[in-house]
Subunit: 203 residues, 4 copies
DNA sequence: AATGAATGAGAATTCATTCAT
DNA sequence: AATGAATGAATTCTCATTCAT
């Protein structure tokens, strides 16, 4: 029943999805949906919580806990892209619907996102220590980088799912490739930043 | 009249925005809205087109055409962040509403996004040449990088507008700072990539 | 089970009372309610019949059969007010719900009411004879008086139950006081009528 | 449109009356009903206010202001019975529906009823003075009598409208007759009460 | 004798959209 | 050029009622 809701919310959007359609897709009657999940709002919340938890769990399970920081980040990203590729509707609901439907829902995704950002922040921090980099990077700077990295990952997840490119499922990059692209993009740059190199307008 | 629509769509979302409210905000009668823009769908399309064009134009105008690639990218990003910060409602409509309301609209934003991605792709390509880098990078790889960069930019635009951080307008980073953050994050890494350095799982 | 129904109908009204709530209050499952009483309509009917019968019986039992007419009326009224005060929910269902829910139910209460009106009519008639009053009062007139008296009694029953005055249970008049008020109001007037005195517009 | 609502509420009851039916009876579309009266609750309130005001006004207009108390009461009652007979649906809504649908509505009718009770109380008080009766009657006692009289009048109004008797319209007593019945019932008794006579159980 | 699970039919309410003027 | 007045078509949600067990 939640599956039907995920599918429908992903396809139509929160507002445009009607309880009628959700019930029909689920193959049950509308009152039954209301019996188990008491309102559209609660149904959406339940969907968000389930998908959030599933995504967070997938990432957590993918991470190799005792590996060096870069390796941990890499495995986490692989898990992330694998999960979003396997559950495109769930990802669409989280990333495109929940975030844009105002307070009650946005907050719920934000919590999971914060968890992931924190993990990434920790990885970057750990990497800085491992690298014994020249100076301790400012917390605020690390946080900004983590946000940029997570944003890039979210965008690539959409991209890898064919959003925007319209690529047929067969032609889409694997989770591994997508993760590699992002690691290459981000890690090397982070390394340089750690070394104290900065880009400046002057060229 | 389009201004009123932008405001309302941004505040309420496409579905929740009623033609009544749009007309009221515009200070005209509802039939007048229908006279000029024939339906809610067309009105939304018109809004998307206008905001898309404005954003694309802002970026185009900001780019210093004859500068080196990094400088061009930097100026483009500054333009992008400046525009999204100055027109948060327009940006919200493009990034949060249009993309999430299904086929007809998503396609329209995708076009503008493609234009920007193409520009970024060109910049990366040009940088590769300028740097006289070891080997010509694969088109597919460059495209992936461009997408990651654009995704990071979009995410940072929301971030800089207070989305998710809830920062008061006064405390938000300037367009310049945001662009610098992203350039630092991205450019250094790109540079390394150009030099043929790759991150690989082995560590 | 009927008790639960009485309670719920009194609290919520016929339409607003749900079979769910009735079953819950009764502490049984909904299908069981349907097993014994086949529909909401029949359940309500059963409630009306039971409460009607109880009220009629209470009045009947209270009347002192061989006393003079005024004494019989007085004892009947005491019984009436005592019963309505002791069973406010039953009275509310009869007087406020059943009468206002259209044909099938209104008829059922009307039957019991008719019985009471008839008793009152008989009392007035008997009183006329006892008093050996000047002229035999017209049946129609007596009937009108009986209706007025019963109407006043009903109104006072609500009043004595706190309806309209909002008086706390402790401060409410006893059945005896209420009956006395009504007897004083009515009997004296009836007496005069018996004596052939009439009020006339002329003054 | 309010007329249609009065008709439908009287026929079906507040809960059972559907906005669909009201709109159909009114010969307009449902949204139009919502345009003018924003919800079922407000519609019902509007109906109650209109009917309350009409009834109160009818009574007020009928009273002969400078006549002696009994005559004022008599003319008021005639006005009351005439109005309830001419507007049986309005009366049904006030007396049977509004009073039984809980707080928001019951309060609105109660206000009008209080106004009438006050008028009656004043008349009884005035009559007591005019009659120069032995002792000043207690305010509380007068109030009780007024309530009984108003209750009787309400009951007779239903009765005269065929409620309970099922009398065909042609056979129903005129407003004048009904008022006379009540005056005879009440006034004579009041007179005796004023004279200090009391009924007592002893006989 | 009793119920957990399920639904058909309708309820109030809203909204994009159109005339007649 | 502009609008007040009106509506068809949904949408969310509830409830009396029934099976299968």
């Amino acid at each position: 029943m939640l599956d039907a809701a995920v599918l429908t919310f992903a396809r139509r959007g929160y507002r445009a999805a009607s309880m009628d359609e959700i019930a029909e897709v689920a193959g049950v009657s509308k009152p039954l949906v209301y019996l188990y999940l008491n309102s559209k709002e609660e149904l959406f919340s339940a969907v968000i919580r389930r998908e959030s938890a599933a995504l967070a769990e997938a990432v957590r399970a993918a991470v190799e806990p005792d590996a060096p920081a870069d390796r941990q980040l890499w495995s986490g990203l692989k898990g992330f892209f694998a999960h979003t590729a396997e559950h495109p509707d769930g990802w669409a609901v989280l990333h495109q619907q929940a975030r844009t439907q105002g307070e009650p829902f946005a907050v719920e995704v934000a919590a999971m996102r914060a968890e992931i950002v924190e993990f990434v922040t920790a990885m970057i921090g750990a990497a800085a220590q491992e690298a014994g980099c020249g100076r301790e990077p400012a917390a605020r700077e690390v946080s900004g980088l983590a946000h940029a990295l997570v944003g890039a990952a979210e965008s690539l997840a959409d991209w890898a799912n064919g959003r925007g490119s319209g690529a047929a499922p067969g032609e889409r990059p694997s989770a591994k490739d997508t993760a590699a692209t992002l690691m290459n993009f981000a890690w090397a740059g982070l390394g340089r930043l750690m070394d104290g190199e900065r880009w400046s307008p002057g060229g």
